[in-house]
């Protein structure tokens, strides 16, 4: 079995950077506490030895309560971890060493890495490394992770420690009669010893975890430790002793045990720092402080932040539009070429109406995702993201969200898919989940296309503009409301504390940004892409069968085409007629498809919204359009064009397109039901891409299903409310 080496350290200390340097893999790094949220491992081969290096989420201590931190803490205590690399930020040593005091208590060999030596030097901090090695009882390797400096030394050191040939490794536990480098003083050590005696009565328990470590964890009130003891036959005596010890310590030292332990650790570190670190007498004002004077300025902070957001938005959605259009046009051209060259039939339709649009639905997101993620990764690496959260936290907190939720919400108005991916930067799981679940309510550019067609048909220009803007406000307002509701409904406990480190500004490494863009693209293509593709194909199937396989219809269509081709009329007219024929055929297929059947079944449910007077004969057609819109909301429009057999392109000189005329004159929709339709389109379900992304980011189909479900429910309620209230106010 391979030797396992785990990387432990505070958030943002450079663990992932070192992991990448050690294993040659390309995990995402960022100047932002909490970037790594799950554990990852990579292989390292040295001297013919197989080593497995594990990158963990950053943690400030092993008693931490947040989920990511618990992943790290419980993994580090596991028996299979042979060696720990403790990554320390040399420019912020005291707080970083707090975790170290606990790591040493685990009783495993530890190699210490003093990372960010460049930062420490810049701040004029001088460190006495040999003294630190003596005090910590292990080798200390200075590194500059992002430049891979010191990594070779670290590798050599790892080998020495694993071979047992490193004299710097001190066995504290043996030397100090059981306790590690930390001595918690007479009172606490006395109680720890008593707990240890009780724990040792259960040999299995004492075997699975170091009794001293478990005692300390129990005193700190770690839920995990209590759970562990719960499975032991000695649990009653242990818990009784714990009660007594806690009461004793509180009465004797005036504080609860957790506080006392933390105070002892920081007390110890304070002394240690005096011995090993020399701080500059007059610390000069760092460039971070100077930059922050501007970037988090009372009046300038918000405008600057908004300017940065506008810049990202423009770059992603305006610039990204060009490659997006090229891809879109490329696929359209391909599909046109194929349908011209291949004989009409099921297979061709599968290609041109199923697979190609499916693949293109995936591919068109790619440029935007890459640009947006590149920008965000760049900002993360500089350290600005933490400031953005600092600036926006107040406003977002009122909505039940987190300072970092602002970015996904704003980006969502371009496209929800990358926006949900952008929620990654929120480290608290609750906040992230809520952000993911409310982001689909933000109206995206695809829905805009639907509003424009519908509002343009049923409202006067001014009213139409108002309705379109209103949709965006409604979406944002709903996101706020749902944020609050979800927060109180799903997470009844207190919200995660917002104690966030503001790391110093750093110059990002371009390579890291590019790698990150590429990684995101890959994740998207492989994970979300497959779902989108499968969904698009399914919708194609629903909307084409059984009509597409009807040989009689195909024959009829071919005969009609031949008849038109034989006519003695100008080519232009011929083309128009052929186009009309094609549309008629498609319309026939779709209007008799499984989706249409479904539409007719579902129509009664939608009746209060789309057909309150029960006068429309074709309300079920709207249901088909909405079903197809699940693939991507802009498809609502093109599907309507097919269903109603009316082109969505207006003829030159006419204000309304044939589709709009048909919608107005033949479908029986009224301005009020049209508005309800728009509201329903805004909310009813996230599109397929978004659902795939929610599934991927929230980690379960459950949440993806929930977002579809609550969207449908909420959309229906609001659209219905609009109709009811509108009618009471006398609108039709």
């Amino acid at each position: 079995m391979a030797v396992i080496i785990a990387l432990a350290g505070n958030p943002n200390s450079g663990k992932t950077t070192l992991f990448n340097a050690l294993t040659g893999s390309r995990r995402h790094v960022g100047n932002w506490p909490g970037v790594t949220v799950e554990r990852r491992s990579g292989a390292l081969e040295m001297d013919g030895r197989e080593l497995e290096v594990v990158d963990l989420p950053g943690t400030y201590s092993l008693s931490a309560r947040s989920e990511d931190e618990r992943i790290a803490a419980s993994y580090l205590a596991e028996a299979q971890v042979d060696l720990i690399i403790n990554v320390l930020d040399a420019s912020n040593l005291e707080r970083n060493l707090y975790l170290t005091t606990q790591l040493l208590e685990l009783g495993k060999p530890v190699v210490f890495v003093l990372n960010m030596m460049d930062d420490a030097k810049r701040r004029g901090i001088q460190l006495d490394i040999p003294a630190l090695e003596t005090l910590l009882g292990g080798p200390v390797i200075p590194t500059i992770g992002n430049r891979e400096e010191g990594v070779d030394l670290l590798k050599a050191e790892l080998l020495r420690v694993l071979d047992g040939t490193e004299p710097k490794v001190r066995n504290f536990l043996a030397e100090t009669a059981g306790h590690g480098p930390m001595d918690y003083g007479h009172d606490i050590e006395g109680e720890v010893a008593k707990l240890v005696t009780h724990i040792k009565r259960d040999e299995n328990l004492a075997e699975s975890i170091k009794p001293r470590w478990l005692s300390l964890q129990l005193l700190e009130g770690s839920p995990e430790a209590i759970k562990l003891v719960g499975g032991s036959h000695a649990r009653e005596s242990i818990m009784a002793q714990l009660e007594t010890s806690r009461a004793f310590l509180h009465g004797h030292l005036g504080e609860d045990a957790a506080t006392l332990l933390a105070e002892f650790r920081y007390g110890f570190l304070h002394g240690l720092i005096q011995e090993v670190a020399k701080l500059p007498d007059t610390p000069e004002v760092s460039h971070t402080t100077k930059l922050d004077r501007l970037l988090t300025h009372r009046f300038l902070g918000i405008p600057l932040f908004l300017a940065v957001m506008v810049a990202i938005y423009t770059l992603s959605f305006v610039l990204g539009k060009y490659p997006q259009d090229w891809i879109d046009r490329g696929f359209k051209a391909l599909s046109a070429l194929l349908s011209a060259k291949l004989p009409a039939g099921e297979l061709t339709s599968l290609l041109t109406d199923g697979i190609i649009p499916g693949v293109s639905a995936v591919m068109v997101f790619l440029p935007v995702i890459m640009i947006l993620m590149g920008c965000i990764s760049f900002l993360e690496d500089t350290g600005y993201m933490a400031r953005a959260a600092f600036i926006m936290d107040r406003a977002m907190h009122l909505m039940g969200l987190h300072g970092k939720s602002f970015i996904p919400l704003l980006m969502g108005s371009g496209c929800n898919v990358p926006a949900i991916q952008a929620a990654r930067t929120i480290e608290s799981k609750q906040d992230r989940l809520i952000t993911i679940l409310v982001t689909p309510l933000i109206s995206c550019s695809a829905r805009l296309q639907v509003y424009i067609v519908i509002a343009g048909t049923f409202f006067k220009p001014f009213g139409a503009a108002l309705a379109v803007i209103g949709m965006h406000f409604l979406g944002f307002g709903l996101a706020m409301l749902m944020g609050r509701i979800l927060r109180s409904a799903l997470f009844s406990g207190p919200s995660a504390p917002f104690v966030m480190e503001l790391p110093p500004y750093r110059m990002p490494v371009l390579k890291a940004t590019i790698i990150h863009m590429w990684d995101k693209a890959q994740v998207f293509l492989t994970r979300a892409g497959t779902t989108i593709f499968a969904g698009a194909t399914l919708i194609w199937f629903l909307s084409r069968y059984p009509g597409i396989a009807n040989a009689g219809w195909s024959q009829e269509y071919q005969q009609q085409r031949i008849a038109v081709l034989a006519l003695q009329i100008p080519q232009e007219q011929k083309d128009t007629q052929l186009k009309d024929l094609g549309l008629a055929r498609e319309s026939r297929i779709v209007n008799n498809s499984l989706a249409a059947k479904l539409g007719k079944i579902v129509e009664p449910v939608m009746r209060p919204i789309l057909d309150p007077d029960h006068k429309r004969t074709e309300a079920w057609k709207d249901v088909i359009a909405l079903t197809a819109g699940f693939v991507a909301k802009e498809i609502v429009v093109s599907t309507m064009a097919v269903i109603h057999q009316a082109s969505e392109e207006s003829k030159p000189g006419e204000k309304l397109s044939p589709l709009q005329v048909s919608l107005r004159d033949h479908t029986g929709l009224t301005p009020l039901t049209a508005l309800a339709f728009m509201i329903f389109t805004l909310i009813y379900t996230p599109c397929l891409g978004t659902v795939a992304m929610i599934r991927r980011e929230a980690g379960s189909w459950g949440w993806a299903g929930f977002s579809v479900g609550y969207g449908l429910g909420l959309g229906w309620l609001l659209a219905w409310g609009t109709v009811v209230i509108g009618r009471m106010m006398g609108f039709a």
């Binding site: 309560r65 005291e94 707080r95 957790a258 506080t259 902070g301 600036i391 936290d393 917002f498």
Partner: protein, 96 residues
Amino acid sequence: MTQNQQNGIHPDDISEVQLLSQLLPGMTATVVQLQAKGAIRQRLLEMGFTRGATLKVEKLAPMGDPMELVLKGYHLSLRRDEGACILVQPAAQPLG
């Protein structure tokens, strides 16, 4: 302006124990007691809010919340709600 605020504090007030959330930007203080419970308490402890630790209020966010603190040489942001769980003793002179 900071200077005025500093001068505006009456010497008697300085020795009074206050809530961290009541401190003004530029003020320094030492931690007297944590009144938070559970996960927040644990987090504050491990971040260095132990009795006797000195901290400085660097600034408030543009909307007045959260606040930026300097503690043990690093910067962190803390919501005022959380700051209200920390009793501090303001110092007479700002650090540095």
